[in-house]
């Protein structure tokens, strides 16, 4: 109890003798009004409006609580009438070793503690060198610190100028008038990134799904941003380093038809903006999620797809891909542009508990797009492609005739349609005969839409005339 009281007293009213500098309150931060804009590619723009008490004329101001990974070369400081003399980023850090190195030539206090009695003797010493061991001059004697292994307290008079606990940004500026005034600090920092995470609850019987979209942002910048106004930008802004490296856009392989509608969201240029609805504190090493999309009853359907490479033949039947199809259009769709992220699909089991049935990553998807997400492979719907015949047509070996048989099986109690794709039909390839009509999705790919009855099977055969 007495200790608690002592602690309370210490926190409430620090003794002036023991506090040479003001000690901030536990959760206080030097940050002012913070606005953070976060891009997808591990980059954020921080704008920090602080009230500083400036003297008239030239002064040096330190800015603690900026990002620990600040890109110091991107810092700009603005304020009414304020002129910048220089900006410094100091990273000479305070440590016992740096403290001793800076004390070379200076005088320190030694407190020797008698190991038997605990009695203290105090003397002043001059540090001659701190290489390997610390060499001291005490009066006329030269000694190595703690050479005898006995306890010695080393007390330095002060923390040397220029040694700081953290890398610190400082700006030397001139102010036309003194007093408290707002200044705005702006800088870029890596360590803040975001993407989207979607939860799709698919009701297969009704052909509908409910989708929730979450913005997931991560802070690994080494600093917390308190009560910040956060805007997320869907897009990766090109940085100088990236422009020379031919950046590839995030893959959007699941988009079957890109949309042309404009979503009802704020945007700047090509980028959609997702402002967080209220100010929030982004702590260091924190992952934060905020909802941005909640749509119920969007039409969605399950489809099946099997893609066979040229001359693909398997020993055993192979499961077809299970594809979830839906639209982001305003009619019969989600009605929004989707920032890049992962869609996790759930379906209810017989007890009504949602169970995870697969996930798929999407790129930035415009509104009005048709999506087909591969969530997994169907246990009960399988395809076995077989090369049944392959003969050379001409004696010079320039043309071949290949007969394929595809056996599709369905062990589920409902009839399904499988999109069967045969790849690799390049050049002057001809389908000589086929058991059902195919459609050319592209020059190299033929597609058969095969109806497979419940608990049944279907067979497609096709003969190709090729150069290879």
């Amino acid at each position: 109890m007495r200790l608690l009281v002592a602690l309370m007293a210490a926190t409430a009213a620090p003794l002036s003798a023991q506090s040479p500098q003001a000690i901030p309150a536990p959760t206080a931060s030097a940050q002012g009004d913070v606005a953070v804009t976060i891009y997808n590619n591990d980059l954020a723009l921080v704008q920090d409006r602080r009230d500083l008490a400036l003297p008239t004329g030239r002064s040096r101001q330190e800015f603690p609580d900026v990002s620990a990974r600040i890109r110091a070369e991107t810092v700009t400081l603005t304020g009414a009438g304020i002129g910048i003399v220089e900006q410094n980023f100091d990273y000479d850090l305070l440590s016992p070793s740096a403290l001793m190195q800076k004390a070379v030539g200076e005088t320190i206090t030694l407190v020797r503690v008698n190991p038997a009695t605990g009695a203290e003797t105090r003397e002043r010493a001059r540090v001659l060198a701190a290489n390997g061991g610390v060499v001291l001059q005490i009066g006329e004697r030269i000694e190595v610190l703690r050479d005898d292994g006995l306890p010695v307290r080393v007390i330095f008079d002060k923390v040397p100028e220029g040694l700081r606990p953290r890398p610190t940004l400082s700006v030397t500026l001139t102010a036309p008038r003194g007093g408290r005034q707002p200044v705005t600090l702006t800088y870029l920092t890596p360590g803040l990134a975001w993407n989207a995470d979607y939860v799709a609850l698919f009701d297969e019987a009704a052909g509908r799904m409910d989708v929730q979209g979450w913005i997931t942002l991560n802070n690994r910048s080494g600093t917390a941003y308190r009560n910040a106004d956060v805007v997320l930008v869907a897009g990766a802004v090109g940085t100088a380093e990236q422009r020379s490296r031919y950046p590839s856009p995030p893959s959007s392989g699941d988009v079957m038809a890109a949309g042309t509608e404009t979503a009802n969201r704020a945007r700047v240029g090509d980028f959609y903006l997702y402002p967080l609805p209220q100010r929030t504190t982004i702590a260091q090493a924190q992952q934060k999620q905020v909802s941005f999309l909640d749509v119920s009853g969007t039409p969605a359907a399950r489809a099946y797809e099997y893609r066979n490479p040229w001359l693909g033949t398997t020993e055993q039947p192979v499961s077809a891909n299970s594809v979830l199809r839906f639209s982001t259009a305003s009619r019969q769709g989600l009605g929004d542009a989707l920032p890049a992220g992962t869609v996790r699909v759930y379906q209810r089991d017989s007890r009504g508990t949602p169970q995870f049935v697969g996930e798929s990553r999407i790129g930035h998807t415009p509104m009005g797009s048709d999506l087909g997400l591969t969530t997994g492979q169907a246990f009960d719907i399988k395809v076995q492609p077989t090369v049944t015949e392959r003969t050379r047509l001409s004696s010079d070996g320039s043309r071949w005739r290949t007969t394929m048989r595809y056996r599709l099986t369905n062990a589920s109690p409902r009839a399904v349609t499988v999109d069967l794709l045969q790849d690799g039909l390049w050049g002057d390839t001809r389908i000589v005969s086929e058991s059902q009509t195919s459609e050319r999705r592209s020059a190299g790919t033929a597609v058969w839409r095969v109806a497979v009855p419940a608990n049944g099977e279907a067979t497609v055969t096709a003969t190709f005339d090729t150069r290879f």
């Binding site: 109890m1 602690l7 210490a10 926190t11 003794l15 506090s19 000690i23 536990p26 959760t27 440590s95 016992p96 070793s97 190195q101 206090t109 503690v113 038997a116 605990g118 701190a130 290489n131 390997g132 061991g133 703690r146 050479d147 292994g149 306890p151 010695v152 080393v154 007390i155 002060k158 953290r166 995470d197 929730q212 997931t216 991560n218 504190t281 702590a283 934060k288 999620q289 905020v290 399950r302 039947p317 499961s319 992962t342 996790r344 379906q347 017989s350 508990t353 949602p354 169970q355 995870f356 997994g376 492979q377 169907a378 719907i381 399988k382 049944t388 071949w400 099986t409 608990n455 099977e457």
Partner: protein, 502 residues
């Protein structure tokens, strides 16, 4: 006493103007385990499970009026936080957070930078304890510099017994990564909050045990659902499911946990006599303040322990989940931390099988000798004694002999739907052999020998290049392949002569 009360209040609120409600553990929990897709036929490594699980929890939480933070403790340590779904909060779910900066010796120092702590010294000779105020002037990485009433000192560079004493845990630091939500409620309410999330460090597979009948025409087929967890959290009384089928997963980055250790370094400390340090040599503090990992679990009991179980009392129930198969353990069980559990999955007393010895030759080869691969073949149909989806897993084949079951083969079963053929490659047979010889490059002779006292069915596949044809009356075509299907008599031979034409 009033002061102590004040202090308690002060400690409770990590953020000002916000109450914290902590839910220590779920009331009801469901665990659905998914397989590691990349494992192939290999058995799960119990130390390193790469499958995952969906954990669904229900917790009753009293949400106070106004803005508050609900913290969910007792979640799986392998939680993928971005997959979390929080339901049952009727309104005002503002945001979800997961803090990965943990309470550690280093983060204590980091978060008290510039603040007041207590420096406690104990006299080794007299045991006298002195405490004094100090202000932390550095972070945890590279030694701690303190400002005391006397001046500036470095912690544990003196050879004295000294340590820092903190008066409280800094706000927002927990022992484990904690998922929390910030909510705003218009009135206090008791909410049944559901929390579901994916967690790594789980896996399962089916383990088949097949006992071959003496006439080699049927097997007694049993399968166990073996599920394992490397997670640190036990789920007691969990509704437990396992999902079979291939489920697509994307690469998901879970933000790493940050628990900085305390690295105490001093100034150069070499002495003129680099002798063994004295008893106070610990002035380089032990920086490895992480908990020692627990010892590996004991080795699994030998297989024989499983074999003697002739029937499981509890069998998993199967249902269709979209395009997957869901197996549910019919009563709540405990999915324990770092443990493996088995329940009955399949029990089919009489499954008709056809043992076949299989060979593969390149038809143009002229000198080759092979041992047969014993394959157990069946159809996944009710008429054969099967007719139910078979999830992928390991199969061990036993036969009775010498008054005990003997293991005669081991193979793997793939995900097999109803109606498909089932083929399990179980053993290499030394006694059923084939020899391919040739005269020149055209005439070939294939000889099969059988040292067993029963006739055996043999399938030989002859591989050939495109455009090469083989003259032999006995060959059949199956799935585009040339096969020789033959029964080799007991202790007998069979031969095939063929000619190659190009």
């Amino acid at each position: 006493m009033r002061l102590a009360g004040l202090l308690a209040l002060y400690l409770a609120g990590p953020a000002f103007g916000q109450t914290v409600v902590t839910s220590p553990a779920p009331e009801r929990v469901g665990v659905t385990v998914y397989r590691d897709q990349s494992r192939g036929d290999a058995r799960p490594q119990r130390q390193w499970l790469n499958g995952y699980a969906l954990i669904s929890e229900t917790r009753t939480i009293a949400i106070p009026e106004g803005e508050s933070e609900l913290r969910f403790e007792g979640v799986a340590s392998g939680i993928v936080p971005q997959s979390a779904i929080v339901g049952g909060i009727p309104e005002g779910l503002l945001e979800r957070n997961r803090d990965a900066l943990l309470l550690s010796a280093g983060s204590l120092v980091d978060r008290t930078l510039g603040q007041r702590v207590s420096l406690r010294r104990t006299d080794r000779a007299t045991g006298k304890v002195t405490e004094q105020e100090a202000v932390v002037r550095t972070g945890s990485d590279g030694g701690v510099v303190l400002q005391t009433a006397a001046g500036v000192e470095a912690l544990r560079c003196t050879g004295l017994a000294e340590t820092l004493v903190y008066d409280r845990v800094p706000a927002g630091l927990s022992a484990r990564p904690t998922l929390s939500v910030r909510v705003r409620a218009r009135q206090p309410l008791n909410a049944a909050v559901t929390l579901s999330y994916l967690a790594t460090g789980f896996d399962w597979q089916a383990d088949y045990v097949a006992l071959l009948s003496p006439d080699e025409r049927t097997v007694q087929l049993q399968a166990w659902l073996t599920l394992a967890s490397t997670d640190e959290t036990s789920f007691v009384g969990a509704t437990t499911q396992a999902v079979a089928g291939r489920v697509n997963r994307e690469r998901t980055e879970v933000p790493p946990v940050s628990a900085p250790p305390l690295r105490l370094q001093c100034w150069p400390a070499a002495t003129t006599t680099a002798l063994v340090r004295g008893p106070d040599s610990e002035f380089y503090a032990d920086s490895e303040s992480f908990p020692v990992p627990p010892p590996p679990p004991p080795p699994p009991p030998p297989m024989a322990a499983d074999i003697v179980v002739t029937g499981a009392r509890i069998m998993a129930e199967r249902e269709r989940l979209g395009d997957l198969q869901l197996y549910r353990i019919p009563e709540p069980v405990t999915v324990a931390a770092k443990a493996q559990k088995q329940v009955g999955l399949i029990d089919q007393p009489t499954v008709r099988v056809h043992p076949v010895y299989r060979f593969f030759f390149d038809a143009e080869d002229s000198d080759s000798d092979e041992e047969g691969q014993l394959v157990l073949r069946s159809q996944n149909r009710a008429s054969e004694g099967l007719g139910l989806p078979l999830p992928a897993g390991n199969l061990v084949l036993f036969a009775t002999g010498a008054n005990r079951p003997l293991m005669i083969g081991e193979g793997s079963v793939r995900d097999t739907a109803v109606g498909e053929k089932v083929e399990v490659n179980v053993a290499t047979a030394g006694g059923v052999r084939a020899r391919l010889g040739g005269e020149g490059s055209e005439r070939h002779l294939l000889t099969l020998t059988n040292d067993r006292s029963v006739p055996v069915a043999v399938e030989v596949e002859l591989g050939r290049d495109d455009g090469v044809s083989i003259d032999a009356p006995k060959l059949t075509r199956r799935d585009g392949k040339l096969m020789w299907l033959v029964t080799v008599p007991a202790n007998g031979t069979a031969t095939l002569a063929y000619r190659i034409r190009r």
